[in-house]
């Protein structure tokens, strides 16, 4: 077959009639698809505000009752500020100090004051 013959045959294929039932089926299925899509759209259009309202109602919680004593100004509550201290620095090569030897305990100082009354004596004890 020559090149022109082949091209001519290909062009003829363009003119070939398509089966009418196939075309009708496509048309019908497209119409059904469009209808289905329209129904979805309408459904979404109706349902979207209802859902939004339901969600808004579900999220809305009643406000806690505020107790106020008559004549008293409202108490201002300030948020607590937490202060964090820096972690202690651990010295690895810290020199160990020798434990300091405790001094022997000294005897307490005792001051005796005698008053003119022989029954009354004042004692002062100090370290």
């Amino acid at each position: 077959m020559t090149d022109d013959g082949l091209r001519g045959l290909l062009r003829e294929m363009r003119e070939q009639p398509l089966p009418a039932d196939s075309l009708a089926r496509v048309r019908m299925r497209v119409a059904q698809g469009v209808q289905r899509r329209r129904r979805w759209k309408i459904g979404a259009f109706v349902l979207a505000p209802v859902c939004a309202l339901a969600i808004a109602l579900a999220l809305r919680s009643p406000a806690p009752p505020q107790l106020r004593l008559p004549g008293l100004p409202p108490v201002r509550v300030e948020p607590a500020v937490m202060r964090t201290e820096p972690p202690p620095v651990v010295r690895r090569n810290a020199v160990r100090r020798k434990p300091v030897a405790r001094r022997p305990a000294e005897p307490p100082v005792l001051i005796r004051i005698e008053t003119p009354d022989p029954d009354v004596v004042i004692l002062l004890v100090g370290n």
Partner: protein
């Protein structure tokens, strides 16, 4: 772009309803899908999906050429998806040649049957290029735009495809 405008007529796209576009373009979409896929069932699925995508996309196009190119592109992409997904069965078309004698009509039909079978043997891209350029009558630039390749590639694909078709048809004759 001229070829597409001829195929799709000169009606204004913007003022046309979706149903009107479907009726006007169904032959091109279904026919192209059938020539690529080789069977009517898959071609109908592709045509349906193409028009539903058009409905989602909206029917506002700058002109008929833009609408035609868009439809061809979507049709081709859907056909490529299908050919990738499954090995398709090729049905031979029922052809009629009005105005020709019965004997030559039969011979012509046989030749077209063989050509359709040979088309199915081509790689998908080459088949698409031949269908769009040689059967649908689009320009090389339009085919390149639809297939997303360069004009040089399209020319090369068509040349290769025609060579293969000639070879396949000559084998059939032997």
């Amino acid at each position: 772009m001229q070829a597409t405008a001829v195929i799709f007529g000169a009606a204004q796209v913007e003022s046309e309803t979706f149903d009107g576009i479907v009726r006007r373009c169904e032959r091109q979409v279904l026919g192209t899908a059938f020539r690529i896929l080789g069977n009517w069932a898959d071609a109908e699925d592709v045509a349906q999906e193409t028009f539903l995508r058009l409905h989602r996309h909206g029917t506002r196009f700058a002109d008929d050429a833009a609408l035609g190119a868009w439809l061809y592109r979507v049709t081709m992409n859907l056909c490529f998806d299908r050919t990738r997904a499954a090995k398709l069965a090729v049905e031979l078309p029922e052809l009629r040649c009005p105005g020709i004698s019965a004997e030559s009509c039969v011979m012509r039909d046989q030749a077209k049957d063989k050509l359709m079978a040979a088309l199915a043997e081509l790689p998908t891209k080459e088949r698409a290029a031949v269908v769009l350029r040689e059967i649908e009558g689009l320009s090389t630039a339009e085919v390149a735009g639809i297939l997303g390749s360069s004009e040089v590639t399209v020319r090369s694909q068509i040349s290769k495809a025609l060579g293969r078709l000639r070879l396949l048809l000559s084998r059939e004759e032997i």
